[in-house]
């Protein structure tokens, strides 16, 4: 309303009073089970993570609360960052494999025509 509307952040961090950096709830805006569950899986695969889970706050709100608790005072942003990079790498590998296999399949289909 007043001038240029500031762009809403996609990510917020919520911490309980007195909690250390290892216990953080991240609010991921405009996300659902698609990213929530796959990211939870990647983060649960990290050794230093004690707890990782997410909830969809309400069906009419398009955001998720993503909770990470770590062991040994590790900042919760670290496993989150690693989870996101790992998930990107997984996708890249799936993409490369998929494209290679589809091309192979298409070539094989063309061969009997000769």
């Amino acid at each position: 309303m007043a001038g240029e509307a500031e762009k809403k952040p996609a990510l917020e961090m919520v911490q309980a009073d007195g909690a250390d950096e290892g216990c953080v709830t991240f609010v991921l805006h405009d996300e659902d089970h698609t990213l929530g569950n796959s990211l939870r899986y990647m983060i649960m695969k990290t050794v230093d993570v004690e707890f990782c889970g997410y909830t969809i706050t309400h069906p009419s709100e398009s955001k998720i609360n993503f909770r990470i608790q770590t062991r040994g005072g590790l900042p919760a942003t670290e496993p989150l960052r690693r989870g996101l990079t790992d998930l990107t790498d997984v996708c890249q590998h799936v993409l490369n494999t998929f494209e290679a296999r589809v091309n192979e399949f298409k070539e094989k289909e063309e061969q009997p025509m000769e």
Binding site: L11, R40, K45, T46, L80, D86, L87, V90, L95, V102
Partner: protein, 353 residues
């Protein structure tokens, strides 16, 4: 000890179909859950085990196996295929004249659901801000289509005919009657691709002599989450590879009955010394109906399971994009989601500094 190890492996790798329920549904191979197993994420291990096999591929559908992946990520791909891969669809309908019996709003809804063949990767999203709502579409975000048709009597129809196909001209309005009206430089940019409905034979309305339709439509880019008309797939689903194990040899009448409990081609009978012996030939074909568990003498003879990390994907396209392109686009969407939050994390840290 060895027996329990085997048990643990089964819990980790198989979903068991029991008589009264399905066991080991959830992924449990996380670090710390099983002593003696290294479950921490290992990219090399993943790359070594991961495999994709294309089973079938044509212009409208495909089937492929994705092996060595967790359900969480496979399900993300499926969800993105259904709801987050963008396509172009009719969003605004300007009705200048509609004297048919189909009401304007019903007609507009029908038009919206027609798949439009146009590569969504070549278009931008239209701005949805408040002041942008009034804005006209431009060549980078809008496709204009026109439907202008009028029904009339066929002068050459025989007098005693009662067949509407012979009596009237243009009395059936099909999707092929929708014509593309290029905006700006679109005629040059999309010269070699035909923009218009994917299918020619979708019936939109029926007219009688004197009735006419005069409609301009605007197609915009959107995603299935917003409206199902933007969904690029007719369906996208996966199932886990079934595994059927016979615990003991089954012969004679029992073998015949066992064979009938499963889908055709799953179990075949082999002739061994004049006796018919059941053998699992192709468990992939099974629908996992669990019919066999209703037979008291057979239910302990077989073990029904599914491989936890073997996904058989089926993707059926609406025809806007080929199914293999849809899957690659879906993977890219998930990567973009990750990138969005990685960027956000980096900018947060810069702010604190």
């Amino acid at each position: 000890m060895a027996a329990t190890m085997k048990n643990v492996d089964e819990i980790r790798n198989r979903v068991i179909l029991g008589e009264f329920g399905v066991k080991n549904v959830h992924t449990s191979d996380f670090p710390g859950n099983y002593p003696g197993y290294d479950d921490a994420w290992d990219m090399h291990k993943f790359q070594k085990n991961f495999r994709i096999d294309v089973v079938h591929l044509d212009e409208s559908s495909m089937e492929f196996d994705m092996v060595g992946m967790d359900a969480a990520i496979a399900n993300a791909f499926r969800r993105i295929l259904l709801a987050e891969v963008p396509t172009m669809a009719i969003e605004k309908v300007f009705i200048y004249n509609n004297t048919s019996i189909v009401q304007d709003e019903v007609l507009a809804h029908r038009l919206g659901l027609i798949p439009i063949k146009a590569d969504p990767r070549l278009f931008e999203y239209r701005n949805t801000g408040e002041e942008a709502a009034e804005e006209e579409g431009s060549e980078i975000d809008t496709i204009q289509l026109q439907l202008k048709i009028k029904c009339s009597r066929n002068p050459r129809a025989s007098k005693d005919s009662s067949d509407p196909r012979e009596l009237y001209l243009n009395h059936m309005v099909y999707s092929k009657d929708i014509k593309w009206v290029p905006i700006g430089n679109q005629a040059d940019v999309f010269a070699d691709s035909i923009i218009g409905p994917v299918n020619d034979d979708i019936l939109i309305a029926q007219l009688r002599p004197g009735q006419e339709l005069d409609i301009i439509m605007h197609c915009v880019k959107g995603i299935g989450k917003d409206h199902a008309k933007f969904s690029p797939v007719a369906t996208a689903s996966y199932r886990l590879l079934p595994e059927i194990t016979l615990m003991e040899t089954v012969e004679g009448e029992k073998a015949e009955r066992l064979k009938r409990c499963f889908s055709q081609g799953v179990i075949e009978l082999e002739d061994v010394n004049g006796k018919k012996v059941a053998k699992v030939v192709n468990s992939r074909l099974d629908t996992c109906s669990r019919e066999v568990l209703r037979h008291d003498d057979l239910k302990n003879v077989v073990k029904l399971g599914r491989l936890r990390d073997h996904f058989i994907f089926t993707v059926e396209s609406t025809g806007i994009l080929p199914p293999d392109v849809l899957v690659t686009e879906a993977i890219k969407v998930l990567m973009a989601k990750c990138q969005r939050f990685l960027n956000e994390l980096d900018s947060d840290i810069n702010e604190v500094k």
